[in-house]
Symmetry: C2
Subunit: 417 residues, 2 copies
């Protein structure tokens, strides 16, 4: 099965708004083994829509459009798609009731333009939108599927997950699809690929392995398709377990876990608390930790200490240490971490000090030099990293590596210098 995605809207086309919808939809389709053959962004005009639909149906079986359905838009998109499908718009009573309830709950007056959102192509199936008022629609014609959705990202996502994916699954020959995720940290994609090459080579046709890399982290995804869910899962688990054994300590989690939630679990299990003493990452590690709901039970706070003064005052770093070795040094980072444990009164502290860039580099300490330390009351471990020249990436990598060092510290795994 092949698919095309058509994004309708001038504000996307001219770059005012960044399009994230087509990435989301493409990922969802790809996870179903449905090949995306093209994505287009077009104007909210009759001719552009008609042309794009015509071109898409030459190449694809499923044509998904988003945008052009908001209440303040003229209704050119809905009208054009309906006409293109030789259909007519009719009022859907269920959608109308939903729109009315939606406005009543928010104590907002229901305008005529809002009522018009309940108009749908007569032969279409309504994909209900619990997040907003414009419904999605699913129309089948000459063996092709035409899906229309609003462009508001969280409304679109709701309709994809609750309306489109289940219906596409029904149409797939192998209607059972299983994804398993294994998350690794601190090892590059090519090095991972080398380590598990023989596992990848031994995969049968219906099980595929994908590498989903982001700075510092590589997600491994096993996707299996088949008819018997139980048997398929057993098959996949053989390979997942092989990867587990081989990669062991670089794996921080599975499924929906993130590095932040994995740290949260480790801390919660031990009823332990954490804080940070950050310089170059300027609070980013605290933010990563607090991205996990419920983190307030173990995250106490962060000390972002930019200046020498503040490092001395809030973390008790010795003035001589700073003068003699500089802020970006083993000596300083160790004192920062130890001072953090003492002053934040937490069980664990992650400390950072480095040169994120763009300025501040020195011959012996180039931009990208970052010291990270992890400490508890008994011990402290420090490690020097050499990242690159991009400030945002350096800060992000400092966060990821800081969390990974804490994970290893808690689990008693080696932290290699």
């Amino acid at each position: 099965m092949k698919a095309e995605i058509i994004i309708i809207g001038d504000e996307i086309l001219n770059g005012t708004t960044l399009d994230t919808n087509s990435q989301f939809i493409a990922r969802q389709l790809e996870a179903l083994n449905i090949e995306v053959v093209r994505r287009s962004t077009i104007k909210d005009r009759r001719e552009a829509i008609t042309q794009a639909l015509f071109e898409a149906e030459q190449r694809a079986d499923v044509i998904i459009t988003t945008g052009g359905l908001g209440p303040t838009k003229d209704d050119i998109t809905k009208k054009t798609i309906t006409e293109y499908l030789d259909d007519e718009l009719v009022m859907d009573e269920e959608v109308l009731e939903h729109v009315q309830t939606f406005f009543a709950k928010r104590r907002k007056p229901l305008l005529d333009i809002n009522r018009l959102q309940a108009l749908v192509p007569k032969s279409s199936l309504v994909l209900h939108n619990q997040m907003g008022t414009a419904p999605g629609t699913w129309t089948e014609k000459n063996g092709k599927v035409y899906v229309s959705m609003p462009g508001v990202p969280f409304e679109m996502r709701y309709i994809v997950e609750n309306g489109i994916i289940p219906k596409l699954r029904e149409r797939l020959d192998d209607n059972c699809i299983i994804h398993r995720y294994v998350h690794t940290v601190g090892v590059g994609e090519s090095s991972l690929a080398q380590q598990i090459a023989h596992i990848e080579d031994s995969l049968p046709e219906h099980i595929r392995l994908a590498y989903l890399p982001s700075p510092g982290v590589v997600k491994l995804r096993l996707t299996g398709t088949g008819k018997d869910e139980k048997r398929l899962l057993e098959e996949i688990m053989v390979f997942e377990n092989q990867m587990k054994e081989l990669l062991s300590e670089v794996i921080f989690g599975y499924g929906e876990e993130t590095l932040s939630s994995a740290i949260g679990k480790l801390l919660t299990d031990r009823r332990a608390t954490v804080g940070t003493a950050e310089s170059c990452s300027s609070g980013y590690i605290g933010q990563l930790i607090t991205q996990t709901p419920g983190s307030s039970t173990y995250f106490e706070g962060a000390l972002v200490t930019y200046s020498y003064d503040i490092k001395e005052k809030l973390l008790g770093v010795k003035h001589e240490t700073l003068i003699e070795h500089g802020a970006v040094s083993r000596e300083t980072i160790v004192e920062m971490a130890v001072g953090g444990v003492r002053n934040l009164k937490v069980d664990y502290v992650i400390a950072t000090s480095g040169i994120a860039g763009p300025g501040g580099g020195m011959p012996n300490k180039p931009v990208g030099t970052v010291w990270i330390a992890v400490a508890n009351k008994e011990r402290v471990v420090a490690k020097k990293f050499l990242f690159g020249s991009d400030r945002t990436r350096n800060i992000h990598l400092t966060g990821v590596m800081g969390l990974d060092m804490l994970r290893r510290f808690i689990l008693g795994l080696p932290i290699r210098e």
Copy 2:
């Protein structure tokens, strides 16, 4: 003049990588008054590339492609485009020398696949790539322009800014284009539009006004086109000055300024220092401040105080205040701000405490309730905000509003509750 953008690459098409290139290119074209009629993302395959080029040239005068030019890719993109233009690939000596120098500087061995990057279509003009090794090319045929660039974002941006924009300008009838930016904070787009409606209505044909909104901030862009640069600028400045007078205190900057750099300027001018005492924004304001190069001269540090304990210990918030009024209250935020000035020893402090969500809401303090205070040694001002239900947006708005409150505090502008 009309343009189309074609993004070539499976990793974009299937959603592994988010495409930001086409937004960047579209914005640059739009700023030149060049209409983008379609954007497409296609596979790195001969047939897909040929079809997309053919379709695009039916609609557009300028066809811009990115991607498919990296050294590890097979050279299908470059070959296909060259063949499509009835051209042949030749070795460009200048590019070859650049590639050789590029590798020599990095002490990396030059492989044959790297050398092949210097192959360009014979009739094309080379758009040099100082950021990498794959050059861009500009080919004209039958009155159409075909541009090919690598897909690595910072390489692409370099070629757009230094190669494509200047060449497109030459082709425009009105080859003088001026953009002027006025940045506002704290007022919604529709309210702004109402206030300056009469200015917008009085604009002549060749001067346009655009609203570029993001949470909390609206950029106003005046774009003028003409032949006489000096006269055009004078014309535009009449309208900019009208807006300046009318909007006055909600304007925080012009041109390339950001809220962070505007704050930096205010502090530098006064040789003053700043720190933050953050709860719900968990260090985000510190990060905003440090986004401005050179911020280490005025930013001392941040205290991210999540727990009651840490608020008491590091900021001296009274235990009774927290028990009696809760962490999200006027009483607590005032003590946080005052404690921050005292303990960080800075001239100004921004303090935040709120419920960013998704959990933690209460009937009288729903998710999105945020208290922000700004203080110096003499005075403190606190204000309550009611943002929405989205955590990321709430944290972002807390940051923007916190910086705006500091701006108003320093300038002696009123802060309305």
